[in-house]
Amino acid sequence: MTSCFNGGAGWPEPVVRVQHVSDTCGDTIPERYVKPPSERPCLSPAAASSGGVGGGGGGGPNIPVVDLSMLDVDATSRAVAAACREWGFFQAVNHGVRPELLRSARAAWRGFFRQPAVVRERYANSPATYEGYGSRLGTAKGGPLDWGDYYFLHLLPASLKSHEKWPSLPSSLR
């Protein structure tokens, strides 16, 4: 009842929310979420259980950090390009997006996922555009699944942005 409202919306089989699987699967995850040994995350037991909490440092290699508030634009450009060439990633700090906005965006979306399933399912997506609340990519019946749910929205071009796909949230949410 909580997880299979949308089997008909273009998916080859009912879509089960990982939130629901997490709440009901007990100690063993369903086979479809189990990755082949070569693709598993190679976590130490500590990282898998509690060591994943941020701030641990650990001194291992980490991706480059680039301070975007530096006054020397050429130096910033060089740092960005070097990080992208060498790693393909970097962490942008002092990027100018206000921390309060980051907080409220996180809170708003956490609120979406905390709503009852019946409310979330109003925004269930389909493989036609993937916009809305989803739990899988691809339409291969019986195929492997990832351990995550998502919400997907188009922002640009404006012609693709459709506000009816945007969720409402409890008005009590800050």
């Binding site: 997490s22 509690s50 991706i63 450009s77 992208c84 906005l101 990832d146 409890p170 008005s171």
Partner: protein, 148 residues
């Protein structure tokens, strides 16, 4: 204020600001690669002509995190991803230049910028990792976490 309006307002504002940041980083990358500052952005349609989307990810707690992934190994499609990860829980792994998977230790409130495969295609400049699966997300026994 209605919840719907507030959510739209926040998401709209978040999207606009992150898009501005993305344009700025594109300019920096473009000139850092020795191209004209506007060149990369122009290759993606120029200001207002780009495509942009928002994906919010929820990774519920998992009894057997060693067997699965929140997102299986992939390279990001398109131009550039600005990932805002959870402040309290790590989960992103990326491939280091020597090919090892490492756990990203996020700086609070930083954006993790991931260069998508189209940057290399459109700049004609060789950029590491954009042609192989270079990121994935693992999950936890005790934590549900979220990224945008």
């Amino acid at each position: 204020m209605h919840g719907r309006r507030r959510c739209r307002g926040t998401t709209e504002e978040y999207g606009e600001e992150v898009l501005q940041l993305c344009r700025r980083v594109m300019r920096l990358l473009s000139s850092g690669l020795g191209l004209e500052a506007g060149r990369l952005q122009a290759a993606f349609g120029g200001e207002g002509g780009e495509g942009a989307c928002l994906r919010v990810n929820l990774y519920p707690r998992c009894p057997q995190p060693e067997l699965t992934l929140g997102v299986a190994g992939h390279s990001d499609p398109g131009g550039m991803t600005m990932l805002l990860v959870d402040d309290h829980v790590k989960g992103l792994q990326v491939r280091s230049p020597d090919g090892q998977w490492i756990i990203v230790d996020p700086v609070p409130d930083a954006f993790i910028v991931n260069v998508g495969d189209q940057i290399q295609v459109r700049s004609h400049i060789d950029i590491y990792t954009t042609t192989i699966f270079n990121s994935r997300t693992y999950v936890h026994v005790t934590y549900t976490y979220m990224s945008l």
